[in-house]
């Protein structure tokens, strides 16, 4: 499963995952995270520029994962959310487990955390997770 241990892949995604770098289409004003090479609405007429996202948003949907894929077995149970960023786009990521109940609509902010450790290749992957504003 190269996606778990691919050094080139991790390296390519680092900028986005470390600093929440996405982009936007200046023509239609749509924000993209993950970034897109072309705007699906404006296509070749679009005009893409890089944007650093604030990491602020709210829970749009969530699930607690009890049965995990490779590389995440040690972390179960863990929360996955789809977060609506205040800039507009939805984004998938882990939510740091809150003390209180989680609900759709709760405000969140991005934090930098260890995502997974690949025992085989020894790569430790870092990136954003979301934390509930209590």
């Amino acid at each position: 499963m190269p996606n778990k241990s691919s050094i080139p892949l991790s390296w390519r995604l680092n900028k986005s995952i470390y600093r929440l770098v996405g982009n936007k289409c200046k023509r239609c004003g749509t924000f993209f995270f993950p970034s897109r090479d072309i705007c699906p609405k404006c296509r070749r007429k679009g005009d893409i520029e890089e944007v650093v996202f604030s990491g602020e948003g709210e829970v749009y949907s969530y699930t607690m994962i009890n049965v995990a894929p490779k590389g995440f077995e040690q972390q179960t149970p863990y929360l996955i959310g789809i977060i609506k960023l205040k800039e507009g786009p939805l984004i998938t990521g882990q939510i740091v487990r809150p003390n209180n109940n989680i609900e759709i609509g709760k405000k969140v902010y991005a934090v930098f955390r260890k995502l997974t450790e690949d025992s085989k290749s020894g790569i430790i992957k870092y990136g954003f997770k979301f934390k509930i504003k209590d």
Partner: protein, 379 residues
């Protein structure tokens, strides 16, 4: 336009077939379809086979392997892959190729051998159907993706866990008489709700299982149907296929699957039929919530009312949905399911006439293929 019919169907038992290889189950399904069609086998001019992932077995190039094992060389073969909709895509490619005038008789098949790979590797492989970089790399599973949709459907429309559980209950009930099904025992709503949570709010019994299996059909143009003197052809009345965003977070809504809506529109338009005209529907219940989404997106009820539709047992009274057990109880060998659905529609139509629809979803909805079949294209 030319007319095309299904003239033979065959499948293996679905289940954990530890003693069987991918090549062996592919062959069995093909041979059974040939026997069912009452043809020799040498009449077949091309083979399309759905198969989701070489990661399950290390074997790619399955279409060539299947032709070889079946003694069908040198016919052209193609493996079609659009994740869990691979088999329906193979069926549709066979259909288009028959319409092209280049072929008269084609085998369309699907096969998946999932149990050679064990444990968490299966879940990782399945995430190949979603967005590996932006969903899989954060630890999301396929159950997780559908759980995110289920949670949102509950939020927007008040759908309940009991309504989702009823989907599984109904499918298990229907599979009791299906000799090919992986699970042939009834379950209750309590069984579902008391089963372990896989990805909240989805319980184990909301999820289709890991399954080995293969299925095949023989398809022929009207001229070939006549020449072969086929007595029970089941005709393709309409066919549609569409794509949608791969990752959930790139969609405008988590409570509908656009690819289903578009593919169904194409199939309804081509067949000049509407949802009311459908007698049997095989829908893609990889997770219970997805049967509810399908019921809505295929137009059997309004958006948001799918849970109620199930609760009111309209899946048995207004239209027969997954009357042989669905993915949940028959099992879901991902790359084979789409053809298995066609086979069950064909069996229903052969037995009782009428019109059937099969809806096969790839991934979390980035692909959908819808086919409508009937006993008579002139209706």
């Amino acid at each position: 336009m030319k007319h095309v019919a299904v003239i033979g169907v065959g499948q293996t038992k679905f289940g954990e077939l530890w003693e069987r290889s991918l090549r062996s189950i592919s062959l069995e399904a093909g041979i059974r379809a040939i026997e069912d069609a009452g043809i020799e086998g040498r009449e077949i001019q091309a083979l399309y086979i759905g198969n989701m992932s070489g990661m399950f077995t290390g074997q790619e190039h399955l279409s060539a392997l299947a032709a070889d094992m079946s003694g069908l060389n040198p016919i052209p073969t193609v493996r079609c892959e659009v994740a869990c909709a691979s088999a329906a895509a193979a069926f549709r490619q066979a259909y288009l190729s028959l319409l092209s005038g280049q072929y008269d008789i084609i085998m369309a098949a699907g096969a998946e051998k999932m149990t050679d790979l064990m444990g968490s590797g299966v879940l990782t492989t399945l995430m190949g159907a979603g967005d590996q970089e932006w969903e899989g790399s954060f630890g999301v599973t396929f159950a997780g993706l559908y759980a995110l949709m289920a949670r949102r459907h509950m939020h927007e429309y008040g759908t309940t866990q009991e309504q989702m559980a009823l989907v599984s209950v109904n499918n298990h009930k229907n599979a009791v008489n299906n000799e090919y099904a992986q699970f042939r025992f009834p379950i209750s709503v309590d069984d579902v709700l008391n089963s372990p949570i896989i990805a909240s709010p989805l319980h184990l019994l909301d999820c289709s299982p890991i399954t080995d299996g293969a299925a095949a059909v023989i398809m022929a143009t009207e001229d070939a149907v006549k020449k072969l003197k086929i007595e029970n052809p089941v005709w393709i009345l309409g066919s549609g296929q569409a794509s949608g965003q791969l990752a959930l977070h790139d969609r405008e809504s988590l409570t509908k699957i656009d690819s289903t809506i578009v593919a169904a529109k194409q199939a309804y338009e081509q067949s000049n039929l509407k949802p009311d005209d459908i007698n049997y529907a095989e829908v893609h219940d990889c997770f219970s919530i997805n049967e509810i989404l399908a019921i809505e997106d295929l137009g059997f009820c309004k958006k948001g009312e799918g849970g109620k539709f199930v609760e009111d047992d309209k899946i048995n009274t207004e239209i027969k949905i997954n009357s042989t057990g669905g993915l949940k109880a028959i099992g879901h060998p991902v790359g084979a399911t789409g053809i298995r659905q066609i086979i069950d529609i064909v069996r229903n139509i052969r037995d009782r006439g009428g019109i059937g629809l099969a809806q096969n979803i790839g991934g979390s909805g980035a692909t959908c293929v819808v086919n409508i079949l009937g006993d008579n294209y002139a209706k």
